[in-house]
């Protein structure tokens, strides 16, 4: 294991993040803050409580999940795609770094960036919405797991993509719609059949409800299921990435 190599990649990725901090941090924070203003402060006060939780507090985990998924995925995919695009990937391929160092470096940095943004968003939310976290340690652990899972997923996306368009397709056309339809703004109990059943085929629904449980102590699905799904996604993504490195798919001719 080349620990210095992993640290170098990690540090370099964070440097890149802070170099573009204005866009990297301000944009997602501003977008999420607008959701809190509109749905939490402006409209939320006129919507009745859901499961004994104010509407403003109810949407905090969902919006946090929306940011986590999109930021983790795009940070990681962009992180590995850019060296492929510029040709700088030669350095990574010729260096004594393997799958472990690459994951710690690229995926670790992508997850760290998402966690920084998530922390800022949670603090920003306090300005507009009155919320508490019922299980803070579990919440932190779960947020870290989700950031890691979707950073791994983003890494795969960045290796798969052969253009900037493909890099955008999955977050914009799959993740964001699924997050909106996964109960960010409503409880599944508010849906009529068959949509209530259909919603349960949306994997993001379980992730949002897992995070909501750590915040409010109440959710539409058991917390164990949400944790299990997140861990399953991590295992699946690590397996795919190991296969990518073994075969050299899209990395080595």
């Amino acid at each position: 294991m080349n620990a210095r190599g992993a640290l170098a990649i990690f540090t370099n990725e964070l440097l890149r993040f802070f170099r573009t901090a204005f866009g990297s941090i301000l944009s997602p924070v501003l977008t999420t803050a607008l959701y809190f203003i509109v749905f939490g402060a402006a409209i939320g006060g006129r919507i009745q409580e859901i499961d004994g939780v104010s509407y403003g507090a109810f949407i905090v985990p969902g919006l946090l999940m929306l940011t986590l998924l999109s930021e983790s995925t795009s940070n990681a995919s962009f992180g590995i795609y850019m060296p492929r695009f510029t040709g700088a990937i030669y350095e990574l391929l010729s260096a004594p770094v393997g799958v472990a160092e690459t994951l710690i470096g690229f995926v670790g940095a992508a997850a760290a960036k998402s966690l920084i943004i998530a922390a800022i968003i949670l603090l920003t939310a306090l300005l507009f919405v009155d919320y508490t976290i019922a299980h803070p340690l579990l919440a932190v652990g779960y947020i870290v797991l989700v950031a890691a899972a979707f950073s791994l997923f983003g890494f795969i996306l960045g290796v798969w993509a052969d253009g900037f368009e493909k890099l955008q397709i999955v977050p914009m056309l799959i993740l964001t719609p699924l997050t909106f339809l996964g109960g960010t703004f409503y409880s599944i109990q508010m849906l009529a059949e068959p949509w209530r059943t259909v919603a349960q085929f949306n994997p993001i629904f379980y992730l949002i409800n897992g995070l909501r449980w750590t915040f409010t102590g109440r959710a539409d699905v058991p917390i164990g299921v949400a944790f299990g799904m997140t861990l399953g996604l991590i295992v699946l993504c690590v397996g795919v990435i190991a296969l990518i490195f073994r075969t050299g798919w899209r990395l080595r001719d």
């Binding site: 210095r4 030669y90 010729s94 001719d253």
Partner: protein
């Protein structure tokens, strides 16, 4: 197959690479590189030079053959091997928005070396980049960018350095400056393998030269030995009056008539000066035969001539 030579730093045997589309870039290359030498790999575009480098450096997966570096199998001991190899690719490929010093320190870290600002400073100063250390790479000129590529490759003090077209697209002054830097690296004990389109570059710097074409090594030898073996002397003698044919007295010389019998063309010798002596004898024979002439032009063939002959005609010794 070559027997293993003492002091070999890189031992390539039967290296083959066929890409997915079916293109064979390397067709069983055998090559041994000696410790401390500068080896120039010459070949036309698409000859397999970059593929050979990529296979050794881990950028692509060979279809066959073995690569042993520093006495270690490059596939099994890839970490140890890669740690000691530096690569300057042909294309300018880096994060253009990164600072020069950050980019070089990043490369050093990726190769498992502890942070060493003094070493980074030394590398940057040696490449005249110290004053630009805080500049973003995109702000640098093309020549400066290429120096950054070299600085990145040197940051982890490699024992074996690959330079893929290191002076492509740089001006004459910078090219000569780079030659001096490469020479300094050799003095420091670094083994260097360079590919180049500039035969003059190989002629000026290399200890040994390899010529590759269509994935096959046509020739590998000491530069001086190649010149001696394949070098030729050429002489053009302006005749007055023109001759209708080569006189019988000159039949023993490698001569032909050109330009309507107005020029006697000699091409012979072996690159060690024998050709010049033969031209002198030829001139004496002309005088002896009473054949008039008004001028003589002679030239020794360059490495470039030999390279063109090899690639176009495939003459010369097998690798």
């Amino acid at each position: 197959m070559f027997p293993r030579v003492e002091g070999t730093i890189l031992d390539i045997r039967g290296l083959a690479k066929t890409y997915k589309g079916g293109t064979t870039a390397l067709a069983g290359v055998d090559l041994q590189i000696r410790k401390g030498e500068i080896f120039a790999l010459l070949g036309p575009n698409g000859a397999g030079k970059t593929t050979l480098i990529g296979a050794v450096c881990g950028l692509l997966r060979p279809s066959g053959g073995t690569i042993e570096a520093f006495g270690l199998d490059a596939r099994r001991h890839w970490r140890e091997v890669r740690r000691r190899i530096g690569l300057v690719p042909q294309e300018l490929s880096f994060d253009m928005f990164a600072r020069v010093d950050h980019s070089v320190a990043y490369s050093r870290g990726m190769f498992g070396c502890a942070p060493d600002p003094a070493r980074i400073e030394q590398v940057l100063r040696s490449l005249s980049l110290w004053d630009k250390r805080k500049a973003k790479i995109r702000e640098l000129s093309g020549g400066m960018k290429r120096r950054v590529m070299i600085a990145k490759a040197l940051s982890h003090d490699p024992d074996l350095l690959f330079l893929d077209e290191p002076t492509a697209g740089v001006d004459v002054e910078l090219r000569r400056d780079m030659w001096r830097q490469i020479d300094a690296l050799r003095e420091a004990g670094t083994t260097i393998i360079l590919t180049t389109h500039y035969i003059e570059e190989a002629q000026a710097m290399a200890d040994r030269v390899g010529v590759i074409n269509k994935g096959q090594l046509l020739l590998v030898d000491e530069k001086a030995a190649i010149m001696a073996q394949l070098g030729r002397t050429e002489a053009r003698i302006a005749l007055t009056p023109p001759l209708p044919g080569v006189p019988a007295a000159l039949a023993g010389y490698p001569v032909t008539l050109e330009n309507g019998g107005r020029t006697l063309f000699y091409r012979g010798g072996d690159g060690t000066g024998a050709g010049k002596r033969e031209v002198a004898e030829l001139v004496k024979a002309l005088v002896g035969q009473g054949i008039g002439f008004e001028g003589i032009e002679t030239r020794e063939s360059s490495l470039e001539d030999i390279f063109v002959d090899l690639v176009e005609n495939r003459v010369g010794a097998p690798a």
